[in-house]
Symmetry: D2
Subunit: 453 residues, 4 copies
């Protein structure tokens, strides 16, 4: 079997000690209002291990005392009448064929879980993720414990599957990398379309609509996260998602948006002038952020770390802010005192994968946890964002000419043996490139919706 | 104060008996994956009564033993640091000014709820809606009951607020009708754009993308429900939302989609030929559904009911199916035996409002509930859908020439003193109109994205 | 049918409005440690209405829209194997015969509750009593609400059964009065035996053992509450139940103990000298408490109230404390200022019945609750305790000669048409009677365990 | 520090791996009815490790990454006003002095638990014991996981403390053995008193009362389990606790009762003739059970096991039943087929200690669990019961002369280096001894309540 999901399950099973059972849940549909639901999005771990798209499913992986492993997918039964109303279901038989995992009906979940747990030493699941699953696992264990003479067959340990799964997911396999490149490519196209569409007088949500539309037309029906489109000072609110203000001539606009492709996230931020031309101050700060990003990107390679890349970024930022007079004093002392931090309060980047803020420890594997440390050494196969920014809200302690400027430049980067590959390099980010693209006629062939003509 | 929400709160308070407290919750953000959330959508009742858009808020309405009423909105506090990260918040003070309701901090919710309940005879909330709210209300009541000497101050009755609120929401006020017309208009435009865009070889999700985009460009950022775009036989699955098949030459495609505008839903279905031309069989069945819809629409007027409109619809459908040879036997006997029902298994329509399947009893106010009955007499101000259909899946017991055809035609209708107003009349539904629109060039001025040029 | 429980159910059903369902649970066995349980004690309301002694049972009373009522007892099934291990069970069939209530298996509880609730307007249960029952009732209602087309058949109101049941239980019927007299008689005998047994050097728990033994030998196997046996200063701790100190020559000992007979409580307190002779100070204070009790008892009659009896009691106490020099100042001012209250911080008495602190409002039926008020007018059939006390711990602000004295005298009193009947008059309470009884030889015939010789 | 509880905590801490936290809860008072509680009985594990007698307390044991251990007792604060009403409390300060454990207020439990857990690899508690504790521990872990940057400080494993504690409790230390001997001695005296008291016409509950009384007079206020007093056929119901039948001339009566002394259980069963004289059939069966018990007792020694003792017991029983004609066929085949099992369906005995069915595996330490196996090798310091029985209910397939006879003889036995010590040998069990004791005059000096004269 050469399905990537099957290989991932094998890798996970290889990590589990003998006499273990691991349970991963797909999750359930969530109500949006009354009898309507949000579009279902499977739990990332479940999706990673199965690619099975339906809600209400469970994956049970077991390894017995002799080290023999088994897999079981529990899913909804076929039900002709319900399917006419609610949509098609695979059912266990078809699921087994199509997804290559032994399958049974979710209606037997209590019995199947009890059978899988009985006599196993360790029960593995992701701690803290899913209260309903926890209740269910507790009920199953309690059933064993209260069955006469079987009490001692209940698992004696519960272990957090999170670190194991996070470690696996941290290093992307070839299949994942190709999907992530696709997510990045679609999102990059969408960002370019939004840049071209932008004009003073438009609404922030219209740029969001443009981005969503370009992605959806390619089959990326949902965003990886709620898009941020912030004109002017709105860019200084890091997770601004109202997107309901008018875009004004003379302001910058910051777009932080990425689509989800087959469950994988892209996460791109670009900042550009609403009217297509950077002002002097905008250009000065923008160039500074770009320089900082380039300095950080230079540090994305095997053996480096977020800590080192962050250092490089802050060095450039501090120098620039000092040069521009926003920071005053002795440069080395400013660097030492982390004086640039109030102007970029967020971190340089994060792991990227099935989740936009993807799982994976920021610290060395097996190290004693150290709150806040990001000294994990980069290895080929890791994917991360590099996203320095500068935010100067109105009223802050600078020359007012800088006020109301918020800038962030974010790319998605794969660590490779040679260094890194920028998955989102297709979106312009130099001042010249941006101004050139925005000067083009949006109805120009090859732009807009053209990709599906 | 002439805000419509204030008037609605007054109408609700007028319905509550003396010595009552009513609690309505806004709901909470829901996790989509890991640390990302679905876009927050306030609880419909809460939104109806407040127009306050933030999560984690509560509305408390009280009427004391003397009949004196009071209102209190509990909401999140201002928090400069959190707002930089998570977005702006009103805070109680600003909420009070802007929304015209006395407000306090949600951090005091336990104390405020206890204070509001103490000494009240009846506690009103929507039964079965919100488990977290129920727990909280129970905890508050238990706090009163276990306070020495105060036990008897806990409410002695819990009453379902649902019927009262449903009755209010069933009759739309002028403000609501204008919003619903806007939702309908935006959605109608979007349907027309999708019709024009459609071509064999496109994907179902691309028509969905088109619809969502047209709505979002007008500011309707979210659909009222997950769009159904079903080509060919997919149309026979009532809530088909995968939308991931190719649209084939010779097939029909059914689109059931509507946007949400200021919380209000539109709900439009149109069915049209992928290639722009109905085949003979498609045309025969389509005309039949359209005739049935027109017959039903003729019954939408004060004094009529869903029951009567459904009768009219089924009469036309049965006659037509009999005429086409799909139903065989004596016509009157077929009507009597409800022989058309297997071909249209869903009901004729539903209330429409803040929810796509809106609240409101389908039976006379105050009547003993009668499962399935829909004999509520129409009154001006009610809004409803009229959506007959015919579904002939492959393999069913008819001439194979009919197989794989699923048709539904749905409009949104306001009952008026004179009869009704069709809010979604702008989308073509005759065969001639549809074929004409689809023959137009999609790049024709005034179409496509032109509305924001 | 002339069973008293049947009559009580009828009285309760008569109080319920049409279209109601009431649910009363027996409760469950509670674990004492590991796999041992405390002796099961049925919920008082359930016992009052059924006299059915097993755990895990439910009583469902319904009144339909036409006012027709029905009763259903759900109980454990017969199970030969389990009964060999765990004890005999009635099973529904035998329960029906023996207890005169239609019965079915508790294994059908979800279905039976749903059936009973469906279409009823009001669901009645005791609010705040039983979290497990509440969950179950919520699940049943939710099942109805989420059954297609049945949503409106779920009850629209939940009403507190507590006030209705409390009102019924407040007025004891003839069967109850005879059982309460029996509880009082057994407990009175036990108190006399303890008085006779008492000697310096004994342990407090030995007097408790004596009381429990005398009751148990009469078939009253369990106390109505945990006995208080407090020598010397221990009497000043109101619910002292350690009972593990030595009884010292020269001290008083306070015994507050009563048995449970067929579910009904006795509640008697006597205070007497460990060595059989009151000291001067003990006698002075004892006589004062006794006078206060007699004054209060004189107020126990139809038309009076706890408020009036308390007034009489405090008047005597204040006069006495003033006379003894413990309270100083002007008598009327002391009374006005409730100056005696710090010396008797508890209230004069409480309702008595199936619970030692029995249910029943202390305020007029139907009045707006007034925290702390005890102005319910006495009626024939009410049973209550009258239990003034005085407590002078060491170190308090009095002449040290009074220190370490705690006294309470408590009788159980039935309000009759003529005034009252003291159910516990058989236990001596004058100084002379007590000293005489304690001077008798405990091995005297007719005492000790003689009752079963 | 030479307190036994301190040594036990040290032994437990020695078993815990580095970077562990263990939590043990005292439990809470449980409601008997309305506002009365059952007498509080601390959780056995908590009592074993602390001897702290109050409810609502927690013990937290930690071992950090360096192997440094710490102890913390959380208990109720002093509260003068509450203590007057509800009884005295130690409060942290006094608890620390008196019980020799660092103590703090239970009001800080969330913070103290979080602090103790943070950064620990493993969280240990007894799985399945205490749902409220589980919720609390989950809440604490979730608090850590959702604190920014601290997520990884939450324990990654939850481990069952039960096996560790059970193993410790299985081997009684000297302090425990002395307490268990005291429990056994008190209970033995009580059984003798009941034998002497017994006469035809008495009620079963009166023998129970006698047993409870004799124990309580010695300070053993509570039974270790609900006493079984079964006359005649009632003896065939293993956990018959109604105890409400008359004791009839000619019947046997079975008493299974034992007191609790300082938390430790005795568990004695004796069976004797109500009228003081065994009939021929009663004597034949009684002698058989006694012989079986003696055969089993001979196997209670280091190196043996329940399995071996059970074999010896069943061999004697089978031979005897064969001899008496109750079992027919070839003796060896009967033994092979376990033909005696239907006449003694329960097992031969169980561990005894703080719980009557005490904790401790019945299988070798560290072995893979094998349901039902009892092959744990006896070691000095183990305490167990040996309790063969024979039960011949009416209507079963034997000569009717045997009907209605139920017999069990149970002693409590300490395994010693030399073999065993019978802690309950003081209660007569030969036919001759029993008949002699029952022939004595119960008012004979030295009997009855004499022990406290
Ligand atoms: Mn990012
Ligand atoms: Mn519809
Ligand atoms: Mn009392
Ligand atoms: Mn035993």
């Amino acid at each position: 079997m050469n399905r990537p999901q099957a290989e991932r399950r094998q890798r996970l099973l290889a990590e589990l000690p003998a006499s273990s059972v691991a349970v991963i849940a797909a999750g359930h549909e969530q109500t949006r209002s009354r009898d309507t639901e949000y579009p279902f999005r499977p739990n990332s771990d479940f999706w990673y291990l199965t690619a099975f798209p339906e809600p209400d499913a469970l994956l049970i992986l077991t390894k017995d005392a002799a080290g023999q492993s088994a897999e079981l997918l529990l899913c909804r039964d076929k039900d002709v009448e319900k399917e006419v109303w609610q949509g098609r279901r695979f059912g266990p038989e078809q699921a087994e064929q199509q997804f290559g995992i032994a399958a049974a009906s979710i209606s037997e979940q209590q019995a199947q879980l009890v059978a899988a747990m009985k006599g196993k030493q360790q029960l593995w699941f992701c701690f803290g993720d899913d209260e309903a699953l926890l209740s269910q696992l507790n009920a199953c264990q309690q059933q064993i414990r209260t069955t006469p003479r079987q009490s001692e067959l209940a698992p004696q340990q519960q272990c957090n599957l999170r670190p194991l799964l996070s470690e696996l997911r941290l290093l992307k396999d070839a299949h994942e990398i190709s999907l992530m490149q696709q997510a990045a490519t679609i999102s990059a196209d969408a960002h370019k379309a939004a840049m071209q569409l932008c004009q003073p007088g438009m609404q922030e949500y219209q740029l969001e609509a443009c981005i969503l539309h370009h992605s959806a037309m390619q089959g990326a029906r949902y965003p990886a996260y709620n898009a941020i489109v912030g004109g002017g000072e709105n860019a200084c609110i890091l997770h601004y998602t109202e997107n309901n203000a008018e875009l004004c001539d003379g302001d910058l606009v910051l777009i932080d948006a990425g689509c989800e492709w087959q469950g994988y996230a892209a996460d791109i931020t670009r900042t550009f002038p609403v009217n297509g031309r950077f002002s002097t101050e905008q250009a000065a700060l923008y160039q500074l952020v770009l320089d900082a990003q380039l300095a950080a990107l230079a540090e994305i390679k095997p053996g480096s770390s977020f800590a080192l890349a962050t250092q490089a970024c802050y060095r450039v930022l501090t120098e620039g802010l000092h040069r521009l007079g926003i920071l005053q004093g002795e440069l080395d002392a400013l660097i030492e005192a982390e004086a640039a931090k109030p102007w970029m309060i967020h971190s340089l980047g994060h792991w990227l994968g099935l989740d936009v803020h993807d799982v994976g420890s920021y610290q060395p594997k097996g190290a004693v946890p150290e709150p806040g440390a990001k000294n994990r050494v980069f290895e080929p196969g890791m994917v991360l964002t590099v996203e320095p920014g500068l935010y100067i809200p109105k009223g802050c302690d600078t020359d007012p000419k800088w006020w109301g400027i918020g800038i962030r430049i974010e790319d998605d980067v794969l660590v490779t043996a040679e260094g890194h590959r920028n998955l989102t390099a297709a979106v312009p980010k130099t001042i010249a490139e941006i101004e050139a693209l925005m000067a083009q006629d949006a109805s120009d062939p090859g732009q807009g919706h053209g990709q599906f003509d």
